[in-house]
Assembly symmetry: D2
Homo-oligomer: 347 residues x 4
């Protein structure tokens, strides 16, 4: 019962096949190979963006940090929420890559466009005393498993662009969000005002690859140099590219997003039957954040359920703890059913 | 006839098999998986260093830069030669990762230990006006295809340690060097006074993996945090580790180094027959740097030979240009023979 | 009526005299002069800390940033409150100097030691995914004009040291705090558990000088090199040092702190008479943060009162705005009386 | 006999007077004061550049590093000679401030424009593997006391601009160079193709101030933010500005440059009489680099002469050592005459 993360599972066979296909003969290194050119074209197709600048990197953290540092001057900040992965879980990567600071807009996973506008105005008034805004970043699926609707993204983009800032979308779970919103990749990105996407492959069935997609080529200036000096330009780039190629082929990316979501919703239905469960965050894709009594979480974990929770589970108290269950595309429904048995046994 | 680099070829089947084996079931992410533990043990075995701290990264540039920045305080410099890959070919990665500066010791590929000592003394005398030495870095096989002998490494290590500095070895072609010197990995590293090795897998048959090996665990303090904030901690770490595991198993690493060297020497013998060839750098492993007349280089390239050279080949002049031929482990001898035909036809 | 800041006023005559005295003959540059040695001794005397490492810098921002980056490894964070000057008003200087991130403990000017401990534990549990704590920083007088008592500082130091972290005190208004608490410099620093102080001269009558004082010399390792590579080592260091010497001589620093506080309290008494004034932050030293109706603030500013406030003063609304009045040591009481007249006329 | 540096002497009375004049009443902080506005106008007058963007900083190192990092993207390098102060004596400040790397053009103090062009072409060909050129920096008076003529500067500027790079002039001794070349500030800067000057006050009679002058305002974008986050924006900016104001008033800057040069040439004439002196670098301004026998240097130093030399003076050997004598504007001719006595006594 592996609900700890969507990065604990295997690689999808179609991605492995693409790797095997690419493992053939001599190709130019450093991205000057045909596989990379075809993979870039495939990503442009997914996003209906023939002019987009596309770069492959092996991790989401590097993709986000490279994208954001490319959008900002070194004395500028990125505005995000206090729950943003770039703030909470990347060990300061954006700052390391050259963003001056992260300026936090509220402590929800969903950014409030009015609060965003107030902070931009406030920072602008601070003049040189504040790190000036350089870009805005949001995440979809959010860090609490919820979704920005297309309208919500559009509203944030309007504020962002009104102040001449670019909007970045951390799409570690882009596939899940797109599938859940039943929209196209273009609709959830440039059509809604997003300027740059980190399009995640790793959590959705790849070995380790993300595509950074700049819809405005001017925004990409310097990305290639930054990627190289970070040691992220692969000499055998074809093997990064091949993963993305396999992932994009025949809409696999979207299908895997949908499959993970279906498992997530199946699990949510089971959890809903628990009498004491609460939902501080609505379960909308493949990642669920219910609150459960401390004692129940302990029992689940003792029964071998792999999951996360916040707060120590020692002590007698039985307060409600926030927990996290994630389903990846490969998770057997039998495992979820087995979990249901355990949960019922506990009720 | 692919002599442009040893990163243009395919992945060795044993490495691909290790990847396939690892692609099975649910494992903890971020290096907390069994495959990673086994791969670390395998690297320790290769180096006969059971206490070594071992970290996997996907590229040589990131391995070097992380290793060197971990060895230095941010205001300290790394001493290397002017031909060092970390100086010439990594787009400033060591400085980006936190090394204050590279201080250059001569313009050969081989560092002179006396010149090293003079520079250390000079920089120390500079006090705060100079970036103070923090570490020394050498490369074996060198950037001109030559070898440091074990004695030469030992002499550099003596100078380095006399000034309380650690010695780093850029081992992008560690396997080739070890095979050419007919020594063990331990002999070419900690037994000769090397403190940290970037042990390269990528150029020797892997997809993209290097092991950074710290023989003194104290030197590794902070490496894990630095790797994460650079976005280089793979969530699905098992697939980095599996490559290294396949590479180390049954001495494959050494065998592939030897095979590449054999092809290099076979090619050198052919080149030696050319009446006008000169050898500014003795060909000692799998990478050759002969000088050839400009016209011959042009004819070779026109014949479809993939190689590198320095200096434009336009114009009528027929001066000698430095060129580079690299053989990887997989290169068919038939290709080298075909090259011999072309070369003879030109003579 | 200059209440905008305590950095708008002149230099105290005793400081100017020290500069004139120092302007004599030839002295070694870069701090190897006698004036600097005497000034360091004077600061050690002020703090009763004969072993302290003392460094002079021209601004508070540089003093704080150099101190904090010296305390941290580049992948570690500094914990401070969301109102900290280092977070709000230094344009990202700590991060620029090498602190990975600022981790915010609450949004008050006063840090809660329990919240501090919870955050340290939380970040430690985050492992490499979070920037690990490297140091804690508080400010006295706080950014809202209040004081930490010696007991409060001690409690924060206890938490800090329990987790093996050093405690930094931003003492831009150290003199005011010491005078207001009626304690010695030692009592407000190392005796209460503070490890490093930025001891401010600029706001208290100097031209531009702060002393960074490390009570544990081990903590100061690398400070000199960092100061130089930031371009903050003055060639004619004697003129930084002379200011600090004049400032420390005969307890001038403390006297000027007390004089500024006396003016602050005199002004506070006048403000208290205003029928609609509110005090979200008790006025305890030379910097006052009353809330006043928007209309009154507008009238004060229209009458030539120099001050700060938060929030736009346009519109008809008459909500209460937070304002800031600061008195420096030199401010004529007549100006405060003149302000009282205006305020009364408005009432 | 203080020939060690031109930063060991006192402040010129006219500069002290300007400081005293500025020490009067309440002025806005952070450069929003009248003194700063007047000082900026004075620098623009000196350079006949009414549109220039002018910023004051306290040290040459900070001025150079801020100027160069403002001209470059973080992944770009600055091209300078191996003797450049920014390379040899600033502890890595340019890199700390955000320049990716320094790329060295020869090991003379005078940059060869042809070598410059070759290196630019070479780096451009390196693509992402090399840090790409972002700016070029030269120094006048050079680090070996020589002068670039206006023609030589123009030739370097032509190469620089042909490759769309800006040219920076480290003018720590701008006044001496201008006086020695008998040209105007404009002629030695923008009229010769220089885009940015660090105009030095500190070595020529100020306490500690340099003006960074951007002739193209577009080049200055971000400088103010960078200065602040480096902690180099003085709250009491008027005291930086006042120094520069006193320095520029009535051509004092030029007069002090000429006076220092006159002393330098007076000293050179004396040194020329020494039978064994050699001049690897022609003495052209106020800084002399003769080679003298080791024994003579030792005797001079034992006689109390303050100077610098390269190489240890222990041992019996009597090889020629490079030495440095610097005269500042204030040096009494009697001291030089006294030195002449010692030198003659030694002959």
């Amino acid at each position: 019962m592996h609900f700890a993360s969507d990065n604990t599972g295997p690689i999808h066979p179609q991605v492995m096949e693409a790797l095997t296909e690419a493992n053939n003969g001599y190709l130019l290194p450093y991205g000057n190979d045909e596989v990379t050119q075809v993979a870039i074209a495939a990503v442009r197709d997914v996003f209906e963006a023939p002019e987009a600048q596309v770069f492959f990197v092996p991790t989401g953290t590097s993709g986000n940090a490279l994208a954001l540092s490319t959008l900002c001057m070194p004395y500028q900040s990125v505005l995000c929420t206090a729950l943003a992965h770039i703030h909470e879980d990347e060990c300061g990567a954006p700052e390391f890559y050259g963003v001056a600071k992260l300026s936090l807009i509220g402590d929800s996973d969903l950014m409030d466009p009015d609060a965003l506008e107030r902070e931009i105005v406030f920072l602008n008034e601070g003049g040189v005393h504040s790190a000036q805004p350089g870009a805005v970043s949001i995440t979809n699926v959010t860090e609490r498993g919820r979704l920005y609707t297309l309208d919500q993204i559009t509203r944030i983009a309007e504020v962002t662009h009104r102040h001449n800032l670019p909007l970045h979308l951390d799409g570690a779970r882009f596939a899940n969000a797109c599938a859940a919103l039943d929209c196209s990749a273009a609709e959830m990105s440039w059509k809604a005002g997003v300027d740059v996407v980190t399009f995640g492959g790793t959590k959705s069935g790849c070995m380790g690859v993300e595509a950074v997609v700049f819809f405005n080529p001017d925004h990409a200036r310097g990305f290639a140099a930054r990627r190289k000096r970070a040691g992220l330009l692969f000499s055998k780039s074809r093997f990064l590219s091949a993963q993305m190629l396999g992932f994009c082929r025949d809409g696999l990316w979207r299908q895997l997003g949908a499959e993970a979501n279906a498992r997530g919703q199946y699990l949510a239905d089971i959890l809903r039957q628990h009498p004491r469960i609460e939902w501080p965050y609505a379960p909308e894709a493949n990642m669920l954040f219910p609150a459960l009594p401390r004692s129940e979480i302990k029992r689940l974990m003792d029964s071998g359920v792999k999951m996360n929770h916040w707060g120590s589970i020692e002590g007698d108290g039985n307060e409600m703890l926030l927990s996290r269950f994630v389903c990846d595309w490969s998770l057997p429904y039998e495992q979820i059913d087995a979990f249901a048995e355990i949960l019922r046994g506990m009720g």
